[in-house]
Symmetry: C2
């Protein structure tokens, strides 16, 4: 009973008591040097297999974990990506677009698969959101996410580029933008869904959403919408466009504005699903039936779109792919590889709100 195994057992019991185990503790117990422990645990090939097994066993017993701060400091790299989520105008605490939550989930997963941690931060556009994450070595790079006024954001982006910060942005992909952007094909999406509405026999199609350079994603959707109308021989009418940001409330109010204008419309293309859902609410309250009186379509395909009544026809963005590409592009950037902005295809998801099912 009295021998090495007894000795080891004793050690395993007493060591954790004096705080967290370090690689040096393990080295002593294993009778090797501390660097060897480090090598063994990181799977270096230049370590004897038997030595490695012994070290691993002890490490497991002591519940040893590499200290990230020490490791990162030494390696000058954090193994962390910061996700800066900004929304403007400032939403009420509880308002995050479900679409971004999808993105958040897929980004988290993509990071985990690359063994990166994700630091998350919600920012107002108005604050200093370049945020020093990379400067303070807390993160190796930044992912920027959010709807907001692009023109306001632009100078910040330029600043980031100038500082040499590694970042990728989700948003409209347009020529001349600072940094790398990944976005879906907003124009095509707007075009396709509008064409669908026209095919359903609707001519007077309203567009709910900002249509200016301040909101390039919405603007692209608007342009797709306008082109589809043009091709159908009935150009877009300014009186059928109502500004809206991406929230139910905004969609709700946009419909009220539309009614106030007393323009005729038998369909609505909302620049986001949340806008569409708010719009449907307002239509119902006015006794206008969806889709009989007014067909409604959105953009994003948030999980809820299938569960409103009627189900919402919409343009699906592939958030899973988007998250993967964002993370992958950022890691390439960090590694100094060349990266290009990219557009991801969209596809229509048709449901009852346009009379499609």
């Amino acid at each position: 009973m009295i021998g090495p195994s007894f000795f080891h057992a004793t050690v395993a019991v007493t060591a954790p008591i004096k705080g967290k185990a370090t690689s040096l503790d393990i080295a002593h117990l294993a009778g090797v040097s501390q660097p060897t422990v480090s090598r063994a645990l990181r799977g270096s090939p230049m370590v004897n297999e038997e030595t490695r097994r012994r070290i691993q066993a002890i490490a497991a017993q002591l519940n040893y974990k590499v200290d990230k701060n020490a490791s990162n400091l030494r390696r000058q790299h954090s193994g962390t990506i910061a996700l800066l989520f900004f929304e403007d105008p400032t939403p009420d605490d509880s308002q995050i677009n479900p679409f971004f939550l999808s993105m958040l989930g897929s980004i988290t997963r993509a990071c985990a698969m690359q063994s990166y941690d994700l630091l998350i931060s919600f920012q107002q556009l108005s604050t200093n959101w370049q945020a020093d994450y990379e400067d303070s070595n807390k993160a190796d790079g930044l992912i920027l996410l959010g709807y907001g006024d692009y023109l306001e954001a632009q100078s910040r982006l330029e600043q980031l580029v100038q500082q040499g910060t590694h970042f990728v942005r989700w948003g409209a992909v347009l020529p001349g933008q600072p940094g790398i952007s990944i976005g879906c094909d907003n124009f095509q999406g707007g075009h396709d869904i509008t064409t669908h509405l026209i095919g359903q026999g609707r001519c007077d199609i309203a567009f709910l959403g900002h249509a200016s350079n301040h909101y390039p994603e919405f603007f692209e959707r608007y342009r797709g919408y306008a082109q589809a109308l043009q091709q159908a021989g009935s150009p877009a009418q300014p009186s059928l466009q109502v500004d809206a940001v991406t929230s139910e409330q905004s969609g709700y109010e946009a419909v009220q504005e539309l009614l106030r204008r007393k323009v005729r419309f038998n369909a609505i293309f909302a620049a986001s699903d949340l806008i569409a859902i708010g719009a449907m609410k307002a239509l119902h309250e006015q006794g206008r039936r969806v889709p009989e009186d007014v067909a409604v379509a959105g953009f994003d395909d948030i999980p809820l779109a299938a569960f409103v009544n009627p189900g919402l026809s919409t343009v699906q963005q592939d958030t899973k792919l988007a998250g993967q590409i964002l993370v992958q592009s950022l890691l390439q950037l960090i590694d100094g590889e060349p990266v290009e902005s990219r557009t991801i295809p969209v596809k229509l998801t048709l449901r009852g709100s346009t009379g499609a099912s």
Copy 2:
């Protein structure tokens, strides 16, 4: 032109070129020792004000940021909280309960106010979610969030307690639980909303949601529901309870199950808003009017509840307060202060789905 100011200007231009500035660089430029720079920049009172200003100016010029890895290593503290979000059964990529997103937002804000960073991680209940965040010094403590099978999670929680990990959990607050829990008053919420339904003249009230120890939050809501019914003289009927997890799909299917059973019901209390929304969808498809034929109530008050048709009556959880208390409790725990589990009050938000407006 040739003098100190010129010298400084030159330095400011050339220094950043050779990589990130360190406190030593600043010390050289300011003509002080490196520890003095460290003190000055952290606002230590034992630094001459003029010296401090000089140092700050140089730091700003060089865009200097304290290296978090070095600082954390030295101080043996990370300034970071890890949020472990787990959901089980495994949701499709894009499914995160909006309620938790609200929590996420409020937790992020509460962390920011305390100058803590938030590391986020989505976990399957089945994985090793104790996750080593604290062990590897990446985080000073953990916040656990998620609906899931409590009984499965319990042993993990006990493990965390045993390891001395600092953590707080959002969930049911019940005697004998390992660690600190913060939760809303699920029982009261279930009781109040059921009483409201009864007051609307509904007697046959179905409950959609798991009602067992596996899901203590739902179970508490169920108990509140049962007690309210008891008090009204019509005890809960097992045939009116249908298991459901918190998703629209699950609510949709639960209604189908209810119909299959051919039991009579004129109201539904769903254990979450998502369940309620799925239930309403199924009712609509069956031609049952809400609230005329069936009144529907949910739990959570997610932003969307106001925008479905009709608006959903529900039990509001105060996510803002919840996030603050979670973070505050965790920080107290980290500081070694005594902390108790706590229950947060709820309140009813009544809308059209129960005929209340």
